[in-house]
């Protein structure tokens, strides 16, 4: 499908058509405006090819100083303008005039796209194809067409279960267990919580999935934490000896793999947070980092 940006009073309509646009997988991405858009999905080393269509407005001709298409990856933090980490350019046309619908094929073969697209709270990592019709006056006609990148990774070599015993002395003592410390995005979390000592009146217990996004470094590090899921595990007050099962399907949540220090700009980490709430609404919790990865489909 084409992504068309029609700008009013623009002298022409520019669109980019991917070569396998009809069959390519789409990702649903939420924009800042709140709308969801569907974007084609690519992976690193994919060849990105297609056609650029330029349709001048009826009865108009465009004088240009050349047409080019750029592919760039950009990390945008909410405060600064963004930082490009990849940039490739293909010249499509020499300066001249466009009278009518013109089609330019393009191809970026085996593009290195080491980072995944990411739409976080403060950080955005995006890949854009930018078509520029160069002009002196008025200014250049620019058309951005975003696409989405997902990189799968091989299954981790070693997956360990998480087992832990935590407690508050003479008050609450539990043992919990998650089957793994690394999950792929459509994985299932299996586990259980074993109550060794219960002296508080627990009302319920839930498992939260939290995402921690950190930007900057050193003293300037800014951390943004988001709770992506709240999954009630237990209703009511258990007694000593009870064990409560956990089974949580991850695929329904909008998760990404864990990103560690992407281009020295940011990191995204995931945590399981086990929360017990007592009758006075006090919360007792234990947070555990888990690694997320994207499995070959």
């Amino acid at each position: 499908m084409n992504y068309i940006v029609g700008v009013f009073k623009q002298p022409c309509v520019i669109s980019v058509k991917f070569a396998d646009g009809d069959t390519r997988k789409q990702a649903t991405v939420k924009k800042e405006t709140g709308q969801s858009v569907e974007l084609p999905v690519f992976s690193s080393k994919d060849t990105i090819s297609g056609e650029v269509h330029i349709v001048p407005a009826y009865g108009k001709k465009i004088d240009h100083l050349g047409v080019k298409i750029e592919l760039f990856g950009q990390i945008g933090l909410s405060l600064d303008r963004g930082y490009d980490f990849t940039s490739l350019v293909r010249e499509l046309d020499i300066p001249g005039e466009i009278y009518q619908h013109k089609v330019y094929p393009f191809e970026f073969s085996a593009v290195e796209m080491p980072y995944e697209s990411y739409n976080g709270a403060r950080v955005k990592l995006r890949y854009v194809l930018r078509v520029t019709v160069g002009r002196n006056f008025p200014s250049n006609i620019i058309h951005d067409s975003e696409f989405w990148v997902r990189n799968t990774s091989p299954p981790p070599e070693k997956i360990n279960p998480i087992k832990m015993e935590v407690g508050i002395e003479d008050c609450l003592h539990i043992e919990f267990e998650y089957s793994k410390d690394k999950y792929h995005l459509t994985d299932v979390v299996i586990g259980k919580i074993y109550f060794l000592l219960v002296r508080i009146k627990i009302k319920h217990m839930e498992l939260e999935i939290r995402r921690r996004e950190s930007t900057g470094s050193g003293a300037n590090t800014i951390v943004e934490t988001e709770t992506l899921a709240k999954f009630e595990l237990m209703d009511g007050a258990p007694v000593r000896g009870e064990s409560i099962p956990i089974r949580l399907f991850l695929k329904n949540y909008d998760l990404t793999p864990t990103y560690r220090n992407i281009n020295n700009k940011f990191s995204v980490k995931y945590f399981f947070n086990l929360v017990l709430v007592d009758e006075e609404d006090r919360r007792y919790f234990k947070q555990q980092e888990v690694t997320m990865y994207r499995l070959d489909p």
């Binding site: 009146k201 627990i202 009302k203 319920h204 899921a229 709240k230 999954f231 009630e232 595990l233 237990m234 209703d235 009511g236 007050a237 258990p238 007694v239 009870e242 064990s243 409560i244 099962p245 089974r247 399907f249 329904n252 709430v277 009758e279």
Partner: protein
Amino acid sequence: MQNSIPDGFPSTNDQEKLLADALALVQHHAFYMHRALDNNNLQDALKFSAQMLGELRTSKLSPQKYYELYMKTFDELRMLEVFFKEETKRGCTNAYLYEEVQHAGNVLPRLYLLCTVGSVYIRSKEAPAKEVLKDLVEMCRGIQHPVRGLFLRSYLSQISKDKLTDAASEFEGEGGTVVDAVEFVLQNFTEMNKLWVRMQHQGPAKEKEKREKERSELRDLVGKNLHVLSQLEGVDLDMYRDIVLPRVLEQVVNCKDELAQYYLMDCIIQVFPDEYHLQTLDTLLGACSQLQPSVDVKTVMSQLMDRLSVYAASAPEVLAEFSQVEAFSKLSEAVIKVIEVQQDMPLVGAVCLHVALLTFTLRVHADRLDYVDQVLGACVKKLNGVGKVNDSKATKQIITLLSAPLEKYNNVVTVLNLTNYPKIMEHLDYGTNKIMAVVIIQSIMKNGTFIMEADKVEALFQLLKELVQDSDGSPTLDELDEEDFMEEQNLVARLVQMLTNEDNDEMFKILITAKKHFQKGGSKRLGYSLPPLVFSALKLVRRLQEQDKNNEVDKVTFSPQEQGSSTEADEANISPQKVFQFLLQTVDSLSAVPAPELALRLYLQCAEAANDCDLEPIAYEFFTQAFVTYEEEISDSKAQVTSIHLIVGTLQRMHVFGVENRDTLTHKATGYSAKLLKKPDQCRAVYVCSHLFWIEDEGGVQDGERVLLCLKRALRIANAAQQMASVTKGSGGPVTLFVEILNKYLYYFEHGNQHITNAVIQGLIELIVTEMQSENTTQDPTVDAFFASTLRYIRFQKQKGDGVAERYAAIEV
């Protein structure tokens, strides 16, 4: 997040409102759910159903109201289930659905949905039933809130009921075996019971009672699991014994909760077949002694024994099983153990247990009297530590305990064989013992049980002690209610009749035993108890005599003199003489009462019996005693009159006396007659005495002269009476006497007493006529009628035309 209310549930009014609100919301969400179902929109259906089920997350409703809410959602879930089923036909896999519903964020709706899909999943057989069930029952652990958990698991139980991998079920085989089914139900049961028990700790202590009541309302949710277990075809005896029962009992014992233990034990006993109980008695009874002290074990065990005894009665071949598994000894041991372990058990509980055990024994081993005695013995042991029982409830139970063998055997004699029976009675207080004694006698009467051995009689009187004699702790006789006392003593008197044996020796022993006991009873009782005893002895006498006669027939060759000795040879121990001696002593003791009139009558009865036995000295002795009694003790004039008539009547019939003895006695009797206080009485007594000299029987005395003398004397007295009356009252008295005397005259006249001539009669008639016409004679129509009919009789005799008529001819009327 729902707010749990730590201070219990809101009031009833609020409850109604809360329920109404919740129901409305369920309705609301259900509406959208239906719409989603109609549109085949799975995601929306799940979303709205989860919202609907969210209403079940409330903590504010009481269990009863919560149940209503549950039922409402239950109906809705049925529709959802149908939808899921159709969804799978449209190509959605069960596995997908099973996963899909698990995305619900709240655990309660999630699990309800999971169970609903699970039900469809199992039915489709796309996954082995056992796996799905196992998963469901595991996942349900997420609900730890007692009420919500109970209902959820109840839902699970409900939807899985027809999908268990029971033997011969369609889900068996690849789906699993009956072991899996049992495992599933047991696990659900265990978890439900835990939740149920935990309920009592929710909320403040002051509302504990209310909470226990609410908890009690939920018990059937838990018990249903046991019912499901009992319905499993595949659970045979072995599996029941090795898996089901131990697991269930483990849970019951370990939960340490009074309400649960009682209810569940009862459930176990009620839902599983008796045959299983019989074969697992050890285990079952072992658990009984491990229950909490506050549990009403006695009722539980009673129920068990009750069921077993009904089972035993169902078919005769079953009985063999009972003895094979030694049901009795196991039960009795268990009873003893339970009593031992539960120190705090009130006495009534212990006795109740024994009652139950006894009932069981009587029903199952009615032939084993030793068992029955053993049970009583155990009870005695328990009672020994207690002394007299003062607790009214316990007393009541002891009465039940003691009555049971009576009712069962309908035969006191059997009961008398129970050595522990009297020992138990010793522990009862006076009043109760008396009641018990009455019960015993009534049983004897009702069933017509004859007590035929002296030692049995002895034993019986041990039981009846309180009735027969005064004992420690009894109130003095004055304190007793007169009527009650009379009733009781009458009962005792009636009892005497039942003490009987065909064998004379034994019978005599019985009498002696009875007398021994009666004599301890004090004067007040003797009046009641001795007369029947006397008559019973007299009956014996007559029987002896009957035998003598038979012997006579057999041994015609013997002379009458020898006959006596031969009888004695036959009846080495017993002879009429001996019985009479016994009688003499017996009646004699009545003098102590004092009941002279009664004694007199009895003496006379005895005398008559002696007469029939041709025992002159004895008869004479009895008469002597009668006279002595009369002289010394009967002072009331009316009583004297009656006595004289009795004496005369009896004496008249005596044929055993020789002339001398007879003369002495008749003389005495006439003498007494003349000494009566009132003239009319004197008169009557005297003319009655005339009969003593005129015996119609063959060989009887017929002394006409003395008859006449008597009558004349009577006349004289009548005259005197007449005069006295006119002096004292101013009017003539009893012409009656004259008419009566006239009748006597006529009697003797007819019977050929030569001394009674027609002239005399004629004279008397005239006298009467004159008297009646006399002015100062009071007119009395009855006397007139009496006289008129007498005259009519004479006329009638005259017309008869036989020998008598000839004699009458001379009399003119």
